[in-house]
């Protein structure tokens, strides 16, 4: 598993979405949603 360093600023939420599962959350104006491809089992 490879991850970039945490983004600067306040962390509002930090969650791992398991393989095959859904996720949802409200994102407030000005906040940033970061999606990280942790393992990239892709060709």
């Amino acid at each position: 598993m490879t991850e970039p360093s945490l983004p600067p600023g306040e962390i509002v939420l930090n969650a791992v979405v398991p393989p095959g599962r859904p996720w949802g959350h409200r994102v407030a104006q000005g906040d940033v949603l970061r999606l990280i491809d942790l393992e990239a089992s892709r060709r």
């Binding site: 949802g24 940033v32 970061r34 491809d37």
Partner: protein, 163 residues
């Protein structure tokens, strides 16, 4: 979330930027032309806008298999947490997936093309309800037949900082 009926619109997004792929600088627009998210960082390079999500019906049409777990089902589950039903599902962005279109219109190489650790930063331009499905597809090579986790972080930039 001002109005849940004003949802992400792939065609507005594609037409405004004149490009099929999402990447750094792309603005994701709604049906009513409101900016939802701006891609402020992207280490992957391109993300699909046209191929939509897998579903139980289209898995049957394509592979003849009934009862499959799908992104459509995941979206139904995610939206239900917010009191919304399947009518709120739209043609989505497939992050970390590339679907090139050949000159004859054929879609080719429907594979993920990301590397471990790649990330995309989406700045909310208004209050947005974001739902995603970490794709459960196991009947085509979009996931290389190997499902993996993703991380979702919501962060708040300092007032003086970027992005």
């Amino acid at each position: 979330m001002e109005d849940p009926t004003d949802r992400y619109c792939a065609t507005n997004t594609i037409k405004v930027q004149g490009k099929l792929f999402v990447g750094k600088g792309t603005v994701l627009y709604s049906d009513l032309g409101k900016a939802l998210f701006t891609v402020v960082e992207d280490t992957c390079g391109r993300h699909d806008t046209i191929y939509g999500c897998c579903s139980e019906p289209n898995n049957f049409l394509r592979y003849g298999i009934r009862g499959t777990h799908s992104c459509f089902g995941n979206f139904v589950e995610a939206l239900a947490q917010f009191g919304l039903d399947r009518s709120y599902i739209v043609s989505n962005v497939n992050f970390f997936m590339s679907v090139p279109v050949a000159i004859d219109g054929a879609v080719v190489n429907i594979y993920g093309h990301s590397a471990a650790g790649n990330y995309v930063d989406l700045r909310a331009e208004r209050d947005v309800l974001a739902v995603l499905s970490n794709c459960p597809q196991m009947h085509n090579p979009c996931n290389a037949y190997n499902l993996t986790p993703i991380r979702a972080i919501i962060w708040r930039p300092s007032r003086s900082g970027k992005p």
